[in-house]
Symmetry: C3
Subunit: 138 residues, 3 copies
């Protein structure tokens, strides 16, 4: 069986790949629509792609710290946190695809991301509280 921290590392690499894709797409669309730096808007398709990239970064800034706190202070079901990480990733892929099609359709993906972030906070908090109650050597 692969330890939970290793699954957390795999989640992190996959999340990084998704984010790389959102950033790569912004670069491509900047060329396609001739948006001259430092402008970050100028064509609807580019604007959506840039907003998707930045929102992905904003949500990673919330999710990755929770995910790694959960890895450092795991609950009994140590596999739960990295599994929720995959659901978050799925939510963000849905967000990306639906936002590019029509920003108004972003709600489902955004909700999956938000709910899994809240769940990850709870998992991490439970792990930290358990570690407070049963002091260990770290």
């Amino acid at each position: 069986m692969i330890p939970a921290t290793l699954w957390t590392a795999i989640d992190t690499l996959l999340i990084g790949l998704l984010y790389f894709y959102t950033a790569f797409r912004v670069g491509n669309l900047r060329g396609k629509h001739r948006i001259v730096a430092p402008a970050t808007s100028g064509h609807p398709e580019f604007d959506r792609a840039y907003r998707v990239q930045l929102n992905t970064l904003e949500q990673m800034g919330l999710f990755l710290p929770f995910l790694w706190v959960a890895a450092f202070y795991p609950i009994g079901w140590a596999w739960l946190a990295p599994s929720v990480g995959l659901v978050w990733l799925l939510g963000r892929i849905i967000y990306l695809r639906s936002y590019m099609a029509d920003p108004d359709k972003r709600v489902l993906g955004a909700m999956i991301g938000g709910l899994t972030s809240a769940v990850m906070f709870i998992i991490a908090a439970v792990g930290v509280i358990e570690a407070c109650l049963v002091p260990r050597a770290n």
Copy 2:
């Protein structure tokens, strides 16, 4: 006594909660003022909230890495880094509240955040330098 790394994890969860609040507020104000995605401006209250969220993310991107390096390579007073983390958090709450009231009043909160980031850098650097001088098994 609760180990310093555990306090660092608690800091991280609290910082995440604050950031979640700044992002949640942006979502709410987007609805209230009918700012249609992908726009990120359109009403002064929304603009302030969005700027607070992004600035919080910008400062977390500086502070969390320093905080965790300080946790991995602690100085003798291992409780100092997570304590400074709580002061940073307080500074960011002050920033949030004063910025929403009037952006010109953001200076105090921003200064507390900046100074505690500088202090955290020094704490982390001292810990790393000590670890270089006394090589350990990591």
Copy 3:
């Protein structure tokens, strides 16, 4: 010899310093060109500096997670990941300097950053795959 994780911590502090500089510069130029918050544009020099700061944050959000996964699951050549980290840092310094002079000259620095991020992903992925094949106690 200084262990690879310690080099990773040193990389992280240096990357933080670079990012701090990009953010500090934005603050200074905000004062110089009297860009009133919450505006994030209004003068070409400020616009470039703000874009450099945000792009640095965007790229850190990709690079630091890969760098630390590589530190937690090192390959045999454990020194390789933190060395690539220094090349990334160099690329970002080139990016900063050339972007401030002329945004069109940002390509070299951006490419060094992008390529080293891809290399870091591969290093981290190899380390994680090796750890999957030879299960360890973490």
